[in-house]
């Protein structure tokens, strides 16, 4: 597969605080996150001439965010979507720059995902009229993400013997990582027993199998490798990207089995092919944890273990800090906060820079203790290559491979 390996970089990252009650607009949060990413990159407002964002009718569009910061745009695009959009938009930003439409693109996501427009489907979403394809599921009390995804995991348990205890280790690992993250909404470490002992939401999912609805805004800045050399931070190179790759019958994916197969099955050859590396070369993963089991399904589909062995993989210690290939080292959507995928790319950028914002006093200078006790360090030593596995739903996903 032809790609643009190492021709583009992520040069700036930024975010607001992760909270459960921002008490401000998505416009204010987006402006702050974009500004923070521009400053992180060492750029000026006039250096940014492209902007992209994604939303579900729940956010502020680029034509308001850019002028707030004095940015005049040569290109912008507001995209409808949620999870799996981050990686897709990074690829589209590269394409826009490659086409000569602009030079440097800020990508943001801003959402009051807890206080205004809840992703879980409660509040305003629960009252929306049901029409079209929604008629195939919603009238049966199947509306939220958990309700939409649960039969996929249950079938995996049936086919492969995967257990609740195994995937609980995803929450355990991510809570361990969040305990080293000052930004995380949930910093307390939990046990397997805490997860499987929490109340049922939709069987086979417990409360602690589900991620955290959160208010926040996040931003990434993409530019060419040449321009990246003049930026403040060590550039992080994009090796490969796949955006919104789908299974057949995306309209009603239950029609096309095995339903335990997710979109990564189709995305992996695209993204690994561009990057010229394989799963064994990846030091850190960011596998989207809308739920504990989504992380597991993607890791096995991308070949980090054999299909069906995801339960063993995620419960083996591999995905924890100190393990061979830690996943979601900032705590992910289960613990840090829900960002529709942006925070996992931001974290991997920081991992590759060596400047993860943990509790190490000189973290910003890249000085870390590598002591993974609570309240200490979460930097992975000598991380060279990271991979993001973006999830929208079982039949739809994106992927991104970066290197330092």
């Amino acid at each position: 597969m032809r790609g643009l390996r190492d021709k583009y970089c992520i040069v700036g990252v930024g975010e607001t605080e992760y909270s459960r009650g921002s008490n401000r607009t998505t416009r204010a949060m987006a402006v702050e996150a974009v500004r923070s990413a521009i400053l992180d990159a060492g750029l000026k407002a006039s250096d940014v001439d492209g902007m992209m964002d994604y939303q579900s009718g729940d956010s502020t569009l680029a034509n308001h965010v850019a002028p707030d910061l004095g940015i005049r745009l040569n290109f912008y695009m507001d995209v409808v979507g949620g999870g799996s959009s981050t990686e897709a938009l990074i690829g589209l930003a590269m394409g826009a720059i490659e086409a000569g439409m602009c030079n440097t693109v800020a990508i943001y996501r801003s959402m009051n995902g807890y206080s205004e427009f809840r992703i879980g489907g409660t509040g305003a979403r629960a009252a929306q009229p049901v029409r079209g394809l929604d008629l195939a599921q919603v009238p049966f009390g199947m509306r939220s993400a958990g309700q939409n995804f649960a039969p996929t995991f249950l079938r995996h348990m049936y086919e492969y013997g995967t257990t609740s205890e195994q995937v609980a280790h995803v929450k355990v690992a991510h809570s361990k990582h969040a305990s080293q993250n000052p930004k995380a909404v949930l910093k307390e470490r939990v046990s397997v027993q805490d997860v499987v002992g929490s109340r049922w939401i939709v069987k086979p999912l417990h409360l602690l199998d589900c991620c955290l609805e959160t208010d926040n805004a996040t931003c990434l800045i993409v530019t060419s490798a040449e321009r990246a050399r003049d930026c403040r931070q060590r550039p992080v190179s994009i090796m490969g990207v796949a955006g919104r790759v789908s299974k057949p019958r995306l309209d009603f994916h239950w029609a096309h089995g095995p339903i335990t197969r997710v979109a990564g099955y189709y995305a992996k050859d695209l993204v690994f092919g561009q990057a010229g590396v394989g799963p064994d070369d990846v030091d850190v993963t960011g596998s989207y944890d809308a739920f504990t089991f989504t992380t597991m399904l993607q890791l096995e589909e991308y070949g980090f273990c054999k299909k069906g062995e995801g339960g063993q993989y995620v419960s083996s210690g591999v995905i924890e800090l100190g393990g061979k290939r830690p996943n979601n080292t900032a705590g992910g959507h289960l613990c840090e906060g829900y960002t529709h995928g942006m925070s996992m790319v931001i974290e991997n950028v920081r991992q590759l820079r060596g400047t993860v914002d943990d509790y190490c006093p000189r973290a910003a200078e890249g000085v870390h203790t590598y002591d993974y006790a609570p309240g200490r360090c979460r930097q992975v030593k000598d991380a060279e290559i990271t991979m993001n596995l973006g999830w929208a739903m079982p039949p739809l996903g994106s992927a991104l491979i970066m290197r330092r």
Partner: protein, 167 residues
């Protein structure tokens, strides 16, 4: 245009120009489960869509199916999102694989349909009776003069394959 159907706090909207669902629900109201049959290749498809996903032909007819099938996967909702479902918890949602066209046109494909698993009196089936592999048949929940929801109920047929439920 018919009024939206109010069901458990939801407005179900099937306007006159809904070329996918309007006739599907009219058949359901007559207690027939129908799917679309491609006029060119003859393959059945659900949900109702405008073109054939296998041969791209536009022509189709409605084809009645038996309404018999096997539970392929399921979930039990304990925490309802829609307010009108709170009184039903815990309620099962089942993914039913219909008997027609199983493993066709590829081994990975089948006619599968989402619904609730109900007792014959239309209340949710008890959680401990829900399992992958159990046999089910369609029954219809009348909602309005022009609309009924196809639902499923357990039958006394022998299970198909391994029977398994979440321990």
């Amino acid at each position: 245009m018919p009024q939206p159907v109010q069901y458990r706090g939801m407005s179900l909207i099937v306007p006159d120009n809904d070329t996918e669902w309007k006739e599907f629900y009219a058949h359901a109201r007559a207690h027939r489960l129908v799917v679309r049959k491609c006029a060119a290749c003859g393959l059945l498809r659900y949900p109702p869509t405008h073109a054939c996903p296998w041969c791209m032909a536009l022509g189709w007819t409605w084809q009645a199916v038996s309404g018999r099938g096997t539970i392929y996967s399921y979930e039990i909702v304990h925490h309802a999102i829609q307010p009108g479902f709170k009184e039903l918890t815990p309620y099962p949602v089942v993914l039913v694989e219909l008997d027609e066209q199983r493993g066709t046109p590829t081994p990975d494909e089948s006619l599968r349909i989402i619904a609730n698993l109900l007792k014959p009196d239309l209340t949710p089936e008890a959680e401990e009776k829900v399992a992958i592999g159990k046999r089910v048949g369609v029954l219809f929940q009348d909602l309005a003069d022009h609309m009924a929801l196809p639902q499923f109920t357990l039958t006394d047929e022998r299970p198909q394959g391994r029977v398994w439920r979440l321990p």
